[in-house]
C-alpha cells in the first residue's frame, strides 16, 4: 500500500497488466513516445516496445475500429481516447460495433477491449474537451461503463476491465488525475464492477454521484454535516452494471435523494438514476429527488466553466433546501 495519485495508479495498473499478459496492447494518439497527453502511458513504450504501445494516426474511428479487429485476432487492446469528446468521431464504431459484436456474431466474437478516456471539466481545457458525455454510452446496450473517483478504484477497476471479456468504457476524471490521491496496493488486484462505494454514511439524505463529482459532493457533505445535515454519499463508480440494490438501500434509509452530475440537465445519467430511484423507493421518498447538473447548454470556455459545472456551494445550498423543505 502507498499513496498514489490517480494517474500513477492507472499507469501502474497498465504496466502490471501488460507484464502479466502479453496479449495486452496499448494504442492511441500520442501514447508512445510522449506517454499520452496526461502521461498515463509514460514509460510503457520504452518497456514494452513499439508493437505493444502504438502511436496511431489521428483518427478515432479507426483507432476504435482496428482495436475491435485486434481483439478478434486474439489480443486484448487497451485504447486511449485522448478526450471523451472525440468519441463522437468514433461513435459508429463504439455504439454499433463495439457494443454489438458479441450479439451480432451470436457469441463467436468476444470483445476484451478497454477504452480509457479522460473526461469531465474543471481544468480549463479547450472547447469540446470537457463535456461529460457518459449518458451516450450508458444508453448503449452491450457496453459497460465505469467511472471511478479514487486512485484505488481506478487501479482495481481498470484491472477488472482489462480482464473482462466484455468491452468497457473506462472514464477517468481528468480533473482528478493529479488532485486525487489515496492508498493503493502496490500489487495487482481487481475491484469488481457493479458495486457502488459508500463514501460517507448518513441518515438525512442520499447524495449520488460518480467520477470527479463524487469527490466534490463528499466535500459538500462535510459542510452539510457542520450544518446539522447528515448526508450519505454514494460514489456509483460503475454505471453499467449499476448497483440498483445499493442505491435503493440507501434511499430507503434516508428518504431523500439528490443526484449530481457534471453533464447538462436534460437526458443525463442523473435522469436515469432518478427514474430508477422513484421506481424502487417511491413509498420511502419524502421529497422529489433533486437533480444538480449543468444547464442545457454546451460546455463553455474556461473563464465561465465554474459557473457551468455544479460545485460545493450549489450542492450545499440545494441539498439544505431539500432537507429543510421536507423536514
Amino acid at each position: 500500500m502507498s499513496d498514489k495519485t490517480m494517474i500513477e495508479a492507472i499507469r501502474e495498473c497498465l504496466r502490471q497488466e501488460m507484464e502479466a499478459d502479453s496479449r495486452v496492447v496499448v494504442i492511441g494518439e500520442d501514447v508512445g513516445r510522449l506517454g499520452g497527453v496526461f502521461r498515463a502511458t509514460d514509460g510503457l513504450q520504452a518497456q514494452f516496445g513499439k508493437n505493444r504501445v502504438v502511436d496511431m494516426p489521428l483518427a478515432e474511428g479507426v483507432i476504435i475500429g482496428s482495436g475491435i479487429g485486434l481483439a478478434m485476432s486474439g489480443l486484448r487492446p487497451v485504447i486511449e481516447l485522448q478526450f471523451l469528446g472525440f468519441g463522437h468521431q468514433a461513435f459508429h464504431q463504439l455504439g454499433q460495433q463495439v457494443a454489438r459484436l458479441r450479439f451480432r456474431s451470436q457469441g463467436r466474437h468476444s470483445l476484451p477491449l478497454v477504452i480509457r478516456s479522460p473526461y469531465g471539466g474543471g481544468v480549463r481545457t479547450p472547447e469540446l474537451h470537457s463535456d461529460a458525455f457518459e449518458a451516450f454510452y450508458t444508453h448503449t446496450p452491450g457496453l459497460k461503463v465505469v467511472a471511478p473517483a479514487s486512485a484505488h478504484d481506478a487501479k482495481g477497476m481498470l484491472a477488472e476491465a482489462i480482464a473482462s471479456d466484455d468491452p468497457v468504457l473506462f472514464l477517468e476524471p481528468l480533473k482528478g488525475y493529479r488532485l486525487v490521491k489515496d492508498d493503493v496496493p502496490d500489487e495487482r488486484f481487481r475491484t469488481p464492477l457493479g458495486k457502488l462505494r459508500v463514501m460517507r454514511e448518513g441518515t438525512d439524505v442520499t447524495l449520488i454521484a460518480w467520477s470527479a463529482a463524487s469527490v466534490m459532493v463528499n466535500q459538500a457533505a462535510e459542510i452539510l454535516a457542520e450544518r446539522g445535515i447528515s448526508a450519505e454519499v454514494l460514489d456509483l463508480r460503475s454505471l453499467n452494471p449499476l448497483d440498483v440494490d445499493g442505491i435503493t438501500a440507501s434511499v430507503e434509509k434516508t428518504g431523500r435523494a439528490a443526484v449530481i452530475q457534471e453533464a447538462s440537465f436534460t437526458g443525463g445519467f442523473a435522469s436515469e438514476i432518478i427514474a430508477t430511484v422513484q421506481e424502487h423507493c417511491f413509498y420511502n421518498l419524502q421529497a422529489p429527488i433533486l437533480r444538480i447538473t449543468a444547464p442545457d447548454t454546451p460546455y463553455p470556455l474556461g473563464a465561465v466553466e465554474d459557473l457551468y459545472v455544479p460545485d460545493i456551494d450549489r450542492v450545499v445550498n440545494e441539498v439544505t433546501a431539500l432537507v429543510q423543505e421536507s423536514a
Binding site: 494516426p57 474511428g61 475500429g65 485476432s73 456474431s105 451470436q106 463467436r108 466484455d166
Partner: protein, 359 residues
C-alpha cells in the same frame, strides 16, 4: 504483383483481364481446372439461392436481402485466394459465396434473412466477421484483425469486401491509411458494381478509378475485371502472397455490375439505364467461366445441367432446414449480448420470459 500494381500515370487504368466473354484466354492463369470447377460450383450455387430466395421473398416467406447476381466472379475469385484455416473475411452483405467457402453454413445465411438472430451465428473456427449493414464499418476492423495476426506472428491475412458506395465513408480512408502505416496484411476488396442503391458510380466519386486512392496511403492499388474469375483470382492471390510475405496492404478495385435489384425491396426500373444493364448482363460471369471450360473441352451441357440440379437440391435443403427451425423466443433478445451480463439485464430476461409464458 508488379504486373498489376497501380502505377501512377496520366492514362486511365484498364482493368486487368485474363478471360474474354467467349472463353478465350489472354494470359496465363494460375487457377487449376479443379479450382475452377469448385469456383463455378459456388457461383452457380449462390445464383440458384438468389433466385429461390427472391421468389420466396415475393411470397412473403423470406426477408429482404441483397443478391450477388452479376458479381459472382468477383466474390468467388477473390475468396478462392484465401486459406480459410488462417485467413479472415470481413464481409459487407453481398458476398454469400465467399462466406460459404470460408465455412459459414448456407442455412445460417437463410436464417439470418428470415430474421432469426441465430442466423448471425458464426461457427467456432470460422474466421469471419458478421455481415455488415453499417456501411464501411468492417474496414477498420479488418485492418485490425490483419495487423493483430501480424503482431502475433501468424502469416494469416484479412480480406474485406465493400462497395463503391461504402468507399465514400470516412472509415475507408482511415483504414487504408492505418494499413499503410502499420503495414497490415489486409486486402481491401472494393466491388465497384456501378451502384449504391440508386446512386450511380459517377455521383459517388469524380476519381478516374478507386484504385488510384492507394497511392495516397502508400499501399498498392489494382483494377481488375470483376466479371473475370481467373483475373480476380490472379490479382487477389498476388495481393495475398505479398501480404503474407510482409509486403502490406493492397486495394483491389473489382469492376463489375449489380445486374439485379439492390435488394428485394428495391425497384431499379426507377433509375437504371436499360442499355447499360443489358451490356453487363451480356458479360455474365458464370457464362464466361462455362465458355472457358467448354473451350477447353472439359464442360458439357449435361455437366452444366447436373451442377444446377445439385445446387438446387443444396439450396432446398438449406432453406428447408432454416424454415424448420422454430421461431426464437425472447431469450434470443438476451443471449450473447454480454459475456457477463449485468444484474439488470438478467432481471429483464426473467421479466420477458414470464411475460412470454403468460401470453
Amino acid at each position: 504483383m508488379s504486373d498489376y500494381r497501380f502505377v501512377p500515370s496520366d492514362e486511365p487504368v484498364a482493368p486487368f483481364n485474363l478471360l474474354a466473354q467467349d472463353g478465350t484466354l489472354h494470359g496465363q492463369p494460375s487457377m487449376t481446372d479443379a479450382q475452377v470447377f469448385d469456383a463455378l460450383r459456388y457461383m452457380v450455387l449462390t445464383r440458384t439461392f438468389d433466385e429461390k430466395a427472391t421468389a420466396l421473398q415475393r411470397q412473403g416467406r423470406f426477408g429482404t436481402f441483397s443478391s450477388v447476381r452479376g458479381q459472382e466472379a468477383s466474390v468467388v475469385g477473390s475468396s478462392f485466394a484465401l486459406d480459410p484455416s488462417k485467413d479472415w473475411i470481413a464481409p459487407q452483405y453481398r458476398e454469400l459465396p465467399a462466406l460459404l467457402r470460408h465455412g459459414y453454413p448456407l442455412e445460417n445465411f437463410a436464417l439470418y434473412f428470415m430474421g432469426n438472430p441465430r442466423g448471425g451465428s458464426i461457427p467456432e473456427g470460422v474466421n469471419l466477421l458478421p455481415l455488415q449493414i453499417s456501411l464501411a464499418a468492417q474496414i477498420p476492423q479488418a485492418t485490425g484483425v490483419a495487423w493483430g495476426l501480424k503482431l502475433q506472428g501468424s502469416d494469416g491475412v484479412a480480406l474485406t469486401y465493400f462497395g463503391d458506395g461504402a468507399s465514400s465513408e470516412g472509415d475507408f480512408h482511415e483504414s487504408l491509411n492505418l494499413a499503410g502505416v502499420v503495414k497490415a496484411p489486409v486486402i481491401f476488396f472494393l466491388q465497384n458494381n456501378g451502384w449504391a442503391i440508386s446512386t450511380p458510380r459517377a455521383i459517388q466519386t469524380a476519381a478516374r478509378s478507386f484504385a488510384e486512392r492507394a497511392l495516397g496511403y502508400g499501399i498498392d492499388g489494382v483494377v481488375v475485371d470483376g466479371n473475370d474469375l481467373l483475373a480476380v483470382y490472379e490479382v487477389t492471390a498476388a495481393a495475398v502472397a505479398k501480404a503474407r510475405a510482409g509486403g502490406g496492404a493492397t486495394l483491389i478495385e473489382s469492376v463489375t455490375y449489380r445486374t439485379g435489384a439492390h435488394n428485394t425491396a428495391d425497384d431499379p426500373s426507377r433509375y437504371i439505364d436499360n442499355d447499360e444493364l443489358a451490356a453487363w448482363v451480356a458479360k455474365d460471369p458464370i457464362e464466361r467461366v462455362e465458355n472457358y471450360l467448354r473451350k477447353k473441352g472439359v464442360w458439357s451441357d449435361s455437366d452444366a445441367q447436373q451442377l444446377r440440379e445439385e445446387c438446387a437440391q443444396e439450396v432446398d435443403r438449406a432453406v428447408t432446414a432454416a424454415r424448420a427451425i422454430p421461431l426464437p423466443t425472447s431469450d434470443a433478445l438476451f443471449d450473447h449480448v454480454y459475456a457477463d451480463p449485468p444484474a439488470l439485464i438478467q432481471q429483464q430476461r426473467q421479466t420477458w420470459k414470464k411475460r412470454e409464458a403468460q401470453s
